[in-house]
């Protein structure tokens, strides 16, 4: 297990930069999530780390050694692919054993390690099946077992849950995380799903257009977004952004935007809010509308706790006094960067 360090990695396909100067440190044993919309370069970056692509410029260090010119098989990293990439003509046993075979590990050693990895993931009863005889969740575990069996320096996961149904995804998320903590493996996890990112990552790197917008813990990313992209990409519904002070922007999370009578103390700013539409979601109510005196490209949203919001108190079409605590207001300059960072 080792730290992974990227220094100003650039990857161009022809003239188009897919990765445009990424520098990132992943300490030993950390669970790092690369979060970004599709086509932002996060998968390309992952493929550079494992050596399937070669960067146009920049240095990559694994465990302190520069590995720029080292082929994938010598880097010792394991990767789990979106569609798992299981070998269909091999049994589960041979799938898991394959990375050991390529290292010319002795036969009885292979058998021991295959047993270890398959018991760890609870698939030891499936060893003689072929991949097509397995369910999606079982395939995912086989792929994970194959990635782990040779005790890699780092584990790279490329949207590993996107082929699972929603229910299975939640439990698989827990499983991968528990497992990673138990083994203490340096892990880099690529996803476009912010729920996965927030729920699993020790830290998150938000990527857009081949560049890192912000690196931080889930709390930092959520509470203190570095720019408008991060603010609107993370969170559901996203942060409300309104133009402010001629060119600048003001942002606040929907759950911080509450009726004035829910505010206590005076450290808050009052806004006049007209509700246009309201959605009842069981645990909360989301209302959409416009704010008096502020412009926004998106409808302003407020997330209201249901206990408070009886249907009659917030009526569509009417103006209501709403407020945001000053500590929950985020200011951005006209380039979209954070202005009032503390």
């Amino acid at each position: 297990m080792s730290a992974v360090l990227a220094r100003d990695i650039v990857k161009k396909f022809g003239e188009v930069p897919a990765v445009n100067g990424i520098s990132l440190t992943v300490p030993d044993g950390e669970f790092m999530v690369l979060l970004g919309p599709s086509g932002c370069g996060k998968t390309t970056f992952l493929r550079i780390i494992c050596g399937l692509e070669k960067q146009t410029s920049g240095d990559l260090l694994i465990g302190g050694d520069i590995v720029n010119d080292i082929p994938p098989r010598a880097r010792g990293v394991a990767m789990m692919f979106q569609s798992y990439g299981l070998y269909p003509h091999f049994t589960v046993r041979n799938n898991i054993a394959f990375p050991l075979r390529t290292q010319r590990v002795p036969r009885d050693e292979i058998e021991k390690k295959v047993q270890w990895a398959s018991q760890l993931l609870g698939i030891d009863h499936l060893l003689d099946r072929r991949p097509r005889q397995l369910s999606g969740g079982e395939r995912q575990r086989v792929a994970l077992a194959r990635a782990l069996v040779r005790e890699p320096t780092a584990l790279l996961l490329d949207e590993p849950l996107s082929n699972l149904d929603a229910k299975l995804r939640t439990s698989a998320r827990q499983e991968i995380r528990n497992f990673q903590q138990r083994v203490g493996l340096t892990t880099i996890y690529v996803t476009h799903d912010q729920v996965e990112a927030m729920g699993m990552g020790d830290r998150i790197a938000v990527i857009d257009h081949g560049q890192i917008r912000q690196v931080g813990t889930p709390i930092e990313i959520y509470n203190d977004p570095a720019d408008l992209f991060v603010a609107t990409f993370v969170g559901s519904p996203p942060m409300n952004i309104v133009t402010h002070n001629g060119g600048g922007y003001l942002g606040f999370r929907p759950e911080n935007f509450l009726p004035k009578d829910m505010m206590n103390g005076d450290g808050f700013t009052e806004f006049s809010f007209r509700v246009d539409r309201s959605e009842y979601l069981g645990s909360e109510r989301i209302v959409y509308g416009v704010m008096d005196g502020f412009e926004s490209k998106q409808p302003i949203t407020a997330k209201l706790p249901p206990a408070h919001v009886a249907e009659e108190s917030i009526r569509p079409g009417e103006w209501h006094p709403f407020g945001v605590k000053n500590s929950a207001l985020r200011e951005f300059d006209k380039d979209g960067k954070r202005a009032n960072r503390h």
Binding site: R73, Y84, F98, T102
Partner: protein
């Protein structure tokens, strides 16, 4: 409810929707293919079987049943046994050579390079050039006096004029020559088969193998080859069946010579049955291919079914 239009009862025809019935339409569509097989393959085959148990010759076109004595006769003939042996060498030699060329060709054509599309189009030429034309060209290349192969080897100093091989005049070299020409004809087909197989493998699997530590050879022989084996086997069945029954290259290039060294079943059947007019023995030689091919094809089909993934 307002009636939009009065429904006019139409005279129902029994045949109006006849082609909407799957069974009828299906039979109708398949009929030409079945007729083709029955008339152009089935009938000649039954006639061959019929002649092979008769004493029919073009000099004595009477039919008399002689049982399996024709088969006894040809099996007793050492030149037939030579022919049978030649057919196996010719078939499997050219298939193996063709597959090797096809595999390498496919690997080369997978990688992008300038002019790849043109090369992909040109590589198909050996397969589409009429066999007669191509064979005449090869005949000149193997000619005892004008062989461009020999000329090149002499010019490069590998051999002297006296040592120049007589390609079509020496038994082993003649067999090698017809094998090379047949493999040359077959390899574009093999390339197409390999390309189809390899491009059908998901990139994730190849990437996984690379990250799992497999180098070029291991990826090729433990991942790619086993995965394309079924489609390769189908191609091989085609190749074997067509080569085993083929006589064109041998007929055009060596006429089975020298001294029967390149005679194959198709050619021998043609010589005996048509050229010499001994239809009964010619038919027996031809029918002899059936059990051999049947065993090969059944074995390979079983293999494919077992390997299916």
């Amino acid at each position: 409810m307002v009636a939009i239009a009065d429904s006019v009862p139409k005279p129902a025809s029994r045949f109006r929707f006849i082609f909407d019935r799957r069974g009828v339409l299906g039979s109708f569509m398949v009929a030409p293919a079945i007729l083709y097989v029955l008339l152009l393959v089935g009938v000649p085959f039954l006639m061959a079987v019929y002649y092979s148990v008769s004493a029919y010759t073009i000099y004595d076109p009477s039919w008399s049943f002689v049982g399996l004595s024709n088969f006894q006769d040809i099996l007793d003939d050492p030149s037939f046994r030579q022919t049978l042996y030649n057919t196996f060498i010719f078939t499997f030699g050219s298939q193996i050579l063709g597959l090797i060329l096809g595999k390498f060709g496919a690997l080369l054509l997978l990688r992008p390079f300038p002019g790849r599309k043109l090369v992909r189009a040109l590589i198909i030429l050996p397969w589409v050039v009429p066999v007669a034309l191509a064979t005449v060209a090869w005949q000149w290349m193997f000619d005892s006096l004008y062989s461009v192969i020999n000329w090149t080897m002499i010019a490069l100093g590998f051999i002297t004029r006296d040592e120049a091989p007589n390609w079509l005049g020496t038994p082993e070299l003649a067999m090698l020559s017809v094998i090379v020409v047949n493999a040359w004809r077959f390899f574009p087909f093999a390339i197409v088969i390999f390309l189809a197989g390899i491009t059908a493998i998901p990139q994730d699997i190849l990437d996984a193998a690379t990250v799992d530590g497999a180098g070029f050879w291991r990826r090729n022989y433990q991942i790619i080859l086993p995965m394309i084996l079924p489609i390769m086997a189908v191609g091989l069945i085609f190749g074997i069946v067509f080569t085993f029954t083929d006589l064109s290259i041998v007929f055009l290039m060596t006429q089975g010579g020298p001294i029967g060294a390149t005679s194959v079943l198709g050619f021998a059947g043609f010589q005996t049955g048509i050229v010499s007019g001994d239809v009964a023995h010619g038919a027996a030689i031809s029918v002899f291919m059936l059990p051999v091919l049947l065993i090969v094809v059944v074995a390979m089909l079983r293999f494919i079914r077992r390997r299916e993934i």
